[in-house]
Structure formats: C-alpha cells, structure tokens
Symmetry: C3
C-alpha cells in the first residue's frame, strides 16, 4: 500500500486546526501524497469532489470552518470520497462536541481519536484533559466497536498501541514512540495519513491499519535518531520520505 | 519550579496568533506542560475555567478571537486562573491597540512584551516597528513599573536582558541569545511559558522570573549547538525537553 | 542586492495562508528582513502604508482575510508600496479565483505563481491539481508575458527553472532543488522574499530575479546538507541566514 500511495500521490484535502496545519501538510508531502488545505465555505465542497480523501479535524473549529466542514462532508459523500473524522478534545468544549455529534450522523468512513475522544463520541464517557487522553486504547475498545457497528465506520484509537476496529475485527499496531505525544499534531497528522491511505483499496480496515503502521514505524525510526522532540519532528519527516515497503514489512508489528 | 512544572504538567490555554501557534504548542510540550489552543467563542470561557494558566496574545486578533479572548479573561478571573497579556505590535495598529487597552483594565496577572509594547501600553510612547522593538528594556522600565503599580500586574520586558518588575522590585535575567529574535515566536512562546509557570506558586514575581530564566537558558544552550536560526529552533525544543533544575541553578544569571 | 537587504531589513507585510505563515516568517527573518503578518481588516491598510513590501497570498482566503487584502492593496497603491500577488490554487476553487481576478485589476507590482496558476490567471487555461502545477514554466511563458504586458506586472513563474518576465525580457534562474516542492510553503515563502527584495531598487525585474536567485541558491545548498524534507527545511533557514553576496555571485546561474 505504501508503494501504491507513492505511485498515485493521493490528493488529501485537510480541514484541520490552525496549530497543526503546517506539520500535517509536511507529513503528507514527505509521505508522497499531495496536500491541500481547502477549508473555505464555497470551496471546500468543490474540492472534496476531486480529492482522493478528506480529513475533518475539529481542533479549532471557527464558524467559517464549521460551514466548510459540513460542505466538504456532503460533497465527499456525494462523490464517494472517503473521509476521516477526528473529534479533537470533545467533551468539555460545547461547539466541537455538538459538531462531532452532527458529523457522526453522516457516517464517517474512518474515525480517528485518542481513547478519551472515542469514549466521549460513543456517548459512554466525558472526554479527556484538553487534547490529552485520560484513558488507554483498551479502555476505549468497547466504545470504538460500538461506533463502528452503529455508523459503519472504521475506528482507529491512538495510544501506546493503536487499535483499529471495524466492530468485528480488532487489529493492534504495536509500533510507535511516546515522542509523538511531545510534538503538537502527532495525532492530528495521523488522521491526514489515514485519509491518504483511505483511497488505496476497498478494504477500509486494511487501509487504516497500513496508515497507522507506516506512520508509527517512521516515528519509531525517527525516535532512534532524535535528541529530543525538536530533532524528532525533523527526523520523522525525513524517515517518512525515505520509508520503503520493504522496511515496513520488516518492522511492522500488527496483530 | 522547573521540577514542579515537570511533575504537575500544567494545562496552558493559548489564545495566540496564527503565525506562532505551532511553535508555541511545541515549546510547551517540550517543557513538560500540556498545551491547548481553545480559542473559539463559547469554548474559550469553559476552558479557562479548567486551565492552569491562560495566554492572551494579540498577534493576529480576528473578530472571533477577540470575542474568545474577552470570554477567556472573564472566566479566568472568575476561576482565579492566572493569565498573561502579550500586547503584540500595539501602537500603529488600531484593533489590537484598543483591545490591549480594554484587556489591561481587567488587570492581567502578568504582562509580557518587548520594550516598545510596554511603553505604548503604559501610554507613554508610540510602539515599535511592526513586531520589533525600537527601545531597550531599560528604556521601558519606568513604563513597566507604572503598569505594575496601576494594574497590579507583574510586567516582563523582553530584550537582551529581560527585566521583570512588580513595580517595586526589578529583577534582571541575563541569559539568552539574539537568535530568539531570528525565529518567529521567540517572544510569543515565552508568554506561554510564563503562563505555564504562573500556576506554580503564589509568588507571581518568582514564577515569572523562573519562566524567563528557564526559557533563556535553554535558548542559550541551543544557540551553542546551532548553525543558524533553523537548527536553533530545533535545538531549542530539544534543550527545553532535556533541561534539569540542576542545570538551571548552575547557569542562571539573575539579579 | 542581498547586501542592501541585510543592511536595510525591509519590513514585509504578509497576508498569507494559515498553512505557511510560520515558515514564511522564519524565511524572512533568516534572510535578514522583518516580518509582520498584519492581516486584519482596519489594520492591514495602515500597516501597508509603512511596510517596505506587501505579500497577498490567496492560499486560505477566509472572509476577513479577503477584506484585509483589499484594504492592504489599496493602501499599498496609495503609498507606492510594491506588492506581490500569489494566486494559489486558482482554477477549480471559486472564491480565490474571483478574488485573484479582482486583485489583478489593481495591477500587482509582481505576480508569482506556479505555471498552472499563471496560465489560469491569464485566462488561457484551467489551473492545476490542488496546489500543484500540471504545466511547466515554459508552457506558461506566453501567459506570463501577456499578464506582464496587460497589467504592467513583473511575472515570476516557479518551477525546475524559474522564469521572470516583464513582458519583453525573459530571465531564467537555473538554481534550485525539487525538495522545495516537498516542504509546504516552498513556493509561498518565495512570494514573501520577492516582496522583501521589491523595495530595493527601481528595477523591478532585477529585484525579482535577485529574490529568485538568492532563494534557490540557499535551497540548493540546503539540499546538499539534507537527509530528507525535514532536515532540508531546517538547513534552508540556516543557509538563508548564512548566505553572502559573494556566494550568490559565485553560484548564480541566470540567463
């Protein structure tokens, strides 16, 4: 799948938050995808019709962005474009929590979040501490299966071990590094990478697992090169750009 | 205080400008704090009620952000949460200049700015050249003391030597590097670090001096590693993440 | 011209997109210019009156930004401040396409774009694939000359070889690296650098060629240091900060 991605250069439309937009675009470019941040009302819809995949990340959802997100989701659905919902920091914060509930009814192709976000989105818990989770992926597994079953989504729960579920089959991705939590956008950019992989095959579970695996393998390699979070972020982009299918097959730990 | 910060992981809410939001979040994460950029109307208030400290930075204050800032400041005051005002580039620019004057009346816990901003905020001068100061910290000391006395704020004036004053006692922090002026957000991120330290003790002057000292020591270390502003910014994050209380005590030059 | 820029520290006002604003400011600071992102209605105009040069980049033109752009352009024209139009991703996307057509009538001092954008702006083609060009600079040369002749603008067409034209004389800048396309803002930040050089002499063609040459020489040097796009971006800032007129004269390939 990595080889297919590098060959096809999927065009990923990101409606994402102001904090991570630069890092997210650089992650997509390093991976070999094309990134476009078309997040305006009247533009988000037309773009979603031509994009390979769409990311809707609720990190800083100002009014204009909310309208653009609704437009992009409607257009993605109409065009059959896969789209990813990342319900950042829902729970305490009312605007994004309501928007996440609304977009969930549109049946996202994939949902990516940290455990507390997944638990909150499923309606069985309160959310985390700001953007940080207070739960583990295993705590959120039942909630993730529930969301997958009810909304037909693939659910990717990020943590020390990522869990990806379609409601029936649970896949665990064991690669990664805690340094991803020390760089802002470490989770958000994974949502964009999942959107990039989402167009590669009809097996949505496999697409999502491949994305998580590629992402965390590059991160693990970068952590080995790094003296701290600054050099980690730099090495991560270098490693994503240099990653080959052979390396992924050698280093992947997927169960 | 650095040890206390690393143990408590204060949750810092940043209402800051679009240019530096990524760097600011990464500085906070590297330091060991938690960063959340909750800057929406209807969300900024609830978040300020749970945050450890709040930064209000006027670098790109669009209408929505201005409403969110007012909301966050009111909620921070109601909850007793310390908050930092950074009056970026006031003087020539009317929207932020009026907003800074309005927020000043809310008696910020701490005010951080470059010398020209402090002079302008105190009403005794015209502001700088864009985001750059045309005055030295000593030029701004009288203005800083005036603000501290009138509004009960700690005032931190950034420059080659930072001066922190409560209106009575002036503390000078002699560490630092000119490379901080060659990376965008070098001053803005200090405002966020001050917000992170602001919750650590009841001695607001000491909290602010500690923040300035830790920040500029890590910067000084990074400058020694750097080949230019690009590698400096990377090394700065690494050094912040690796900094220990022992190193701070050894390298601090505070008078 | 590089020496003149380093001595004068031109103040560059950037009305640019949310994705690249941090990188753009860091490029300007590394180069020795001063960067200010004054992009609010009611502030963009006053600032354009004192700026050395203004960049108007249409990458994420939300409503407030559009108003600020109109204001900045009017004020720049009134003050005789040179300004650069970068019509990012026009074609498919209606809001920016209409805005680009409107601003073009204001006769930009310089227009910078990728080949597909220049072709689309001249009204002789459809635009590219998202932010990527599907045409080569030579494909866009006739369109560039047309724009230059009709609107009195210098037109800079970015690609493997940059072409700068005033409608009569075409100058080719042969330095550069494909890594500039693997870092988001690789093109957008060039627009800001052109704005920085635009105030240095009355020869607008020479100013623009100097900007493209300095930018791509630093990029070429950085590519030689880099292990991938992450370390390239870091090295690029270091190289811009370390670049001397002597090195530019030695490495420039301008025809």
């Amino acid at each position: 799948m990595l080889t297919a991605l590098q060959r096809r250069e999927p065009l990923v439309q990101c409606l994402t938050n102001a904090v991570v937009t630069n890092f997210t675009a650089n992650v997509l470019l390093a991976l070999g995808a094309s990134a476009a941040m078309a997040d305006l009302p009247l533009e988000a819809g037309p773009f979603a019709g031509v994009a390979s995949g769409v990311l809707v990340n609720l990190g800083t959802p100002h009014a204009d962005h909310r309208d653009a997100m609704r437009e992009a989701v409607a257009a993605a659905k109409a065009a059959g474009t896969p789209w990813v919902l990342d319900p950042v920091a829902i729970g305490l914060l009312p605007v994004r929590t309501a928007l996440a509930a609304e977009l969930l009814l549109q049946r996202p192709t994939i949902i990516r979040g940290n455990p507390s976000e997944i638990i909150c989105l499923a309606g069985v818990g309160m959310g985390g501490r700001g953007v940080d989770s207070v739960d583990s992926p295993d705590d959120a597994l039942a909630a993730g299966r529930l969301l997958a079953a009810e909304f037909g989504s693939i659910v990717a729960i990020s943590g020390p071990v990522d869990i990806v579920t379609d409601g029936v089959t649970d896949v665990r991705v064991h690669t990664g590094t805690p340094l991803l939590t020390k760089v802002t956008g470490g989770g958000c950019a994974l949502g964009a990478v999942i959107a990039a992989f989402s167009a590669l095959s009809d097996d949505r579970l496999a697409n999502t697992v491949a994305a998580c695996s590629v992402y965390t393998i590059a991160a693990e390699q970068a952590a080995a090169d790094a003296a701290g979070p600054g050099s980690f972020a730099v090495a991560f982009l270098d490693r994503l750009a240099g990653l080959s299918a052979e390396t992924v097959l050698k280093l992947a730990v997927i169960r």
